[in-house]
Amino acid sequence: MPKIKMPKSSPSIDMTPMVDLAFLLVTFFMLAAQFKPEELVAVEIPTSIAENEIPPKNIIGITISPDNKILFNVDGIDRRQQMLKSMSAKYKIDFTPQEYEKFGKMGMFGAPMARMKDFINTKDEGERKKFPNLGIPVDSLDNQLRDWVFVSRMAFGADPANQPVITIKADNNTEYKSVHAVIEALRDNKANAFTLITSLEGKNQ
């Protein structure tokens, strides 16, 4: 009987296919990545059966936190700087070119105009989240949200192909009172059509 030959095999596994796959996935995710947008407040959005997707750009975003703070966001650096310029003229607060620069890139914001300078000069996101006067006032006497909506719509201009979509994003537990205040601020600006951001739910629920 011939001797049983043990097959010669290397103790190490060939990892090439795995590495190939890993890189493939890395490449895919890098290219497909859409980073989660910066958020100053955690908002858990309700589910609905609405199926329209949010457009990728030209958005005026209003976020209402669970404790009824109102935050604002508009995309486009030039537009944002133009907005701040209009607000600066209206509220007679001057901003430095550096502050314009920083505001343009900031993302979501929300502070009374009197504190806006301090808000812009915060170091980073973390500091902004803890900003003591976070939130845009919507009181009937001091409705700054109405002005922000106005200047942001002005910043979009009259080009019909470039009109913004106004979105309201609020938490499940946000009180209707503040939602109502936001809707009234929009109506004051004749922005009678807007959208509510929701996440998809099963159709038969």
Partner: protein, 213 residues
Amino acid sequence: MAELGGGGDSGGGKHGKARAKKSSNRVDMTPMVDLAFLLLTFFVLTTTFRTPQIMEITVPAKKEKDDPIKPTKFPGAITVYLAEKNKIYWIKGELPKDVPPTLTPTSYGKDGIRKVFLDNNKKLNDEIKAIEKDALAGKVPMDSVSPRTNRLKGASMKESNGQYGLLVVIKADDKSSYKNLVDMFDEINITNVANYALVPLTPLDKQALEGLK
């Protein structure tokens, strides 16, 4: 660690013969793979795939003198009250002028308010369902559905057609939550309600809700 085939020549001494150093011709890829997986994990965790959906809402334009819409024009209108703690009440028809309305409690969801809407909007809902069915079967183009249903909704509110479409008046309490409102719009979309209006509570309404606490 990382080696590339060939190997170094550190062996060359004074009187050394040129010796080919024994070295593996494999590159150690471990660090690279580590990094690849690190990146992979990072991108997997930070990517958002499902973009959120948007629900379109239209509110009536503000007039100079803010006069609330008159549900009395639509005798079949249903007024829904969204109260705090996820409570919901409804009443059909004209609201009394000088006493608080008598409200019927119900619930969010299939067997609650949706059933109320469906019962009161049966004709319009069936018509719209038929159009959608035709579109799904390929009898009519898909993009004609929305204009047709909108026209139908408009026509169903006309007096000459007998006003068979349902008008829903939503009155939300300050303490009700945003989720309640979205759920309400959801039910309106599901049941193909012809028209809706978001109206503030009157003192009488508040009195009625207070009495139900």
